[in-house]
């Protein structure tokens, strides 16, 4: 099998071909989804399959979707400042569902002082306003190579 140009199509270790599957969700109550949609489209353009679940997702809904869709990555868009409350809950649910191998990326309004703690929780990447979609794409692909 040939490697596709975008390398979002990979040969799976178990055989067959596989595309990177990303869940993009907005937990909590904030209603600004333009950023999430921009990222979703960028990931699609990079050859990934994006399950877009939209606004007002509870941590339980996010974990349930991540499981049913057997995603590789969960992308959270949080502009409300509630990331320190929401993230641990989501990470905990992913783990108890047997999905601790899923990589979590967070985009939104995240103060620098929270970056370290989020990484400690196991978050793979954190992106503030003005982050480039190219960086996100590169980091997601890199995380999948591990």
């Amino acid at each position: 099998m040939t490697e596709s140009k975008t390398s979002s199509e990979r040969i799976a270790p178990e055989g067959g071909s596989r595309r990177i599957r990303v869940l993009v969700a907005k937990p909590g109550l904030d209603g600004h989804d333009r950023g999430a949609k921009v990222v979703a489209r960028a990931l699609r353009d990079a050859g990934m399959e994006v399950i877009y679940t939209g606004l007002r997702q509870t941590p339980e809904m996010i974990a349930e979707a991540a499981l049913q869709e057997d995603v590789d990555v969960v992308g959270l868009s949080i502009l409300s400042g509630a990331h320190m409350a929401l993230t641990p809950r989501i990470m905990e649910l992913l783990k108890s569902n047997g999905q601790s191998n899923v990589k979590v990326f967070i985009g939104g309004i995240i103060p620098d002082e929270d970056l370290y703690r989020l990484k400690e929780m196991g978050v793979t990447g954190v992106y503030g306003p003005g982050a480039s979609t190219d960086d996100i794409i590169r980091d997601v692909k890199h995380a999948m190579e591990g």
């Binding site: 399959e49 994006v50 349930e64 979707a65």
Partner: protein
């Protein structure tokens, strides 16, 4: 525990992982699917198709809710969306409309990208549906975008196909496109609070009157395979006339009527012998596709690229016709008569 046993025991993570294996056509996926096949054949497969913007996902959401609340049926939903032909990626957004189903362990929603398939379904959608069937889901709803003409795969897969229209989308003309009406067992005019709903319904009704009754009920949609009419002569009761229902899916209006028609269609399929006939036709098509795939693989494995290229060259140089080339490759894949190779046109022209 093997993947098969885990899935049959109700392990949802195992089910999700198996769905991925099957979607990616991995060797383990194929093996597990073969093991699970014996447990398939019980689920009612319902297809929901229609042009983008008609409200299919909202309808699916409401139907699933209805089946859960009324009948406590276990419902699986497979939502297929198109992959970008340029990048291969996809945005799968049907879950957005199905929040009412969150947290219900009797529901499982899986999104699939079409990955290059043109008929509205992905190549592995039928297999994914089989997994849900084997895993004990009573109803599997397959949702797919269909503008009507080419996207009729759904009718081959589903027992009951619902086509969703909406007023004001230029659908008066839409309704006339042959594909849509040939595949519909039930027609739904959604967004019925919009102006133009009367016209849309009228257009559909007049086209239906032209199309029915026919032997469509006994034919396999889209594939020119004739399914034998059952020996017992069908009375008029055996002919299914697709009903037209108005709905406002986002408000749950009109849903019980659609559910009732689904139940009636299921009863009709069983009583008329059409369920068995469609199952047979569907499995024959699937078997045929697998045979073809296996034979081509076997053939390719037996012919070296070099031989193949030599034959192609001969065809290009007009020393061999395509038909003769095929005969040659099939009968003697390893050697090409020197007369052909040297480009001796007179001798190479006719086959013995």
């Amino acid at each position: 525990m093997s993947l098969t046993s885990s899935v049959l025991a109700g392990d949802r993570l195992a089910l999700a992982r198996l769905l991925s294996q099957v979607e990616n056509d991995s060797p383990e996926g194929r093996t597990t699917l073969a093991e699970l096949f014996l447990s398939t054949g019980k689920a009612h497969l319902i297809g929901v198709t229609g042009a983008p913007g008609t409200g299919k996902s909202s309808l699916v959401n409401q139907l699933a809710l209805h089946f859960r609340r009324q009948d406590n049926k276990r419902v699986a939903i497979v939502a297929v969306d198109p992959s970008s032909p340029f990048t291969g990626g996809a945005v799968l957004g049907d879950r957005v409309r199905m929040r009412d189903l969150a947290g219900d362990s009797g529901v499982f929603i899986r999104s699939m990208a079409s990955r290059g398939s043109l008929g509205g379904l992905a190549q592995t959608t039928a297999s994914v549906v089989q997994v849900f069937d084997a895993a004990g889901y009573d109803i599997v709803i397959i949702e797919t975008v269909g503008a009507g003409q080419g996207e009729v795969d759904i009718a081959r897969l589903a027992h009951t196909t619902i086509v969703v229209e909406a007023p004001g989308l230029g659908d008066d003309i839409q309704a006339i496109k042959a594909g849509i009406l040939e595949v519909a067992d039930i027609l739904v005019v959604n967004k019925a609070d919009r102006p133009g709903v009367e016209n849309t319904e009228k257009a559909l009704r007049s086209m239906l009157e032209l199309a029915h009754p026919t032997q469509r009920v006994f034919k396999h949609h889209g594939v020119s395979m004739n399914v034998d009419v059952p020996k017992t002569t069908p009375s008029d009761k055996m002919i299914w006339f697709p009903p037209i229902h108005r709905t406002i899916a986002t408000e749950g209006i009109g849903i019980p009527d659609v559910a009732e028609s689904i139940a009636k269609h299921l009863a009709h399929l069983r009583q008329s012998g059409d369920w068995a006939a469609r199952e047979r036709a569907r499995l024959e098509v699937e078997l045929e596709a697998l045979i073809q795939e296996a034979l081509v693989s076997r053939f390719r494995a037996g012919v070296s690229q070099k031989r193949y290229d030599e034959v192609v060259e001969s065809v290009i140089h007009r020393t061999l016709s395509p038909w003769e080339a095929v005969k040659m490759l099939l009968n003697s894949p390893h050697t090409i008569p020197s007369s052909i190779r040297r480009g001796n046109r007179g001798e190479g022209g006719k086959s013995k």
